[in-house]
Symmetry: C2
Subunit: 190 residues, 2 copies
């Protein structure tokens, strides 16, 4: 069974997910344990299993919420040409990742439990990306790979200390925007 959207969750389940989310955002994935979630709610860990199937389902609920919030963040993406659209997408993407680093990691840095997610949330978050890429699926995947790579490598502290990440983002956006423009030109010809 797929995880319910927030509105369909029972009061108790919503409280559990909220407590779990707080633990995750404050202390990362290691801080998110069933025992700790229970402790935060003043109950024992086994009691949680009367409301949720287990930890994977709890994580999936958090991930579903994350995708919904990401899609909402993208709603504010605007821009005249491919260049500005891609740049705006990049700013929002990076902003989400750096604002919710542990949540972002949970959402992206592992295989996605698609069967447990609320239906449609992944697609809703992906759509603005495809649009920013001018409708070309291959290019959209290249853009996503770039954006995810920049975001996750920054979160993990993998870039050198003095690295100018704004400049790296700009270099990638510039390169990919030129491709979007070319793809559009080819499309007009056909």
């Amino acid at each position: 069974m797929a995880s319910s959207a927030p509105e369909e969750r029972s009061q108790r389940v919503a409280e559990i997910v909220a407590a779990a989310r707080t633990l995750l955002e404050e202390g990362g994935a290691e801080a998110l344990s069933m025992r700790r979630v229970a402790e935060r709610l003043g109950i024992r860990a086994p009691s949680l299993y009367k409301h949720l199937a287990g930890k994977p389902e709890l994580e999936a609920a958090i991930i579903s919420d994350g995708f919904a919030e990401l899609a909402q963040a993208f709603a504010g993406a605007a821009g005249e040409g491919p260049r500005e659209r891609l740049a705006a997408f990049g700013r929002l993407y990076r902003g989400f990742a750096t604002s919710h680093p542990h949540l972002y990691r949970l959402m992206t840095a592992r295989p996605l439990p698609r069967e447990r997610l609320a239906p449609g949330v992944e697609e809703a978050a992906a759509r603005p990306l495809v649009e920013a890429a001018g409708g070309d699926g291959d290019l959209a995947r290249a853009v996503w790979a770039f954006a995810h790579g920049m975001a996750i490598l920054e979160l993990d502290g993998r870039f050198p200390p003095g690295a100018d990440l704004d400049a790296a983002w700009e270099a990638g956006v510039t390169a990919l925007a030129a491709q979007v423009r070319e793809h559009r030109a080819r499309r007009r010809q056909a």
Copy 2:
């Protein structure tokens, strides 16, 4: 203390690292436990601590070896122009990731324990990337982000089932190669 290079490792430590590497490559990070490593060597887990400080040091030894192998793989990278050099880099990078998925994840999908690594291995693996990017550090980081994003998203099964990943790689390489060419042109002017 930094992890020793393979040649400086004692026989016993080398055997332990080899057993750990096998477990990792065969069963992923969850399969890599101190108990299992010991079992594979016919001893008990606590005995390992006479040879190694702990699991983080064992992982660091595996990671150091991985970087050395990655640097060696890049040695075969050749190409006439920026386009072909970047394409060759991408092929080798993707090949390494798909040939050793669990090792690649251990090396890249988490913060890097730099203090425990054998000195110089990270830089040796990074150098060919900077060269492929034409010497521009910002562009090199954009290239790395793209390559890592493509590799890790493929390993984690995050792209749609029918996605043409060869085409996505090509789109990104084409876009970034054009930037490398432009950077070179600007450099000649100055």
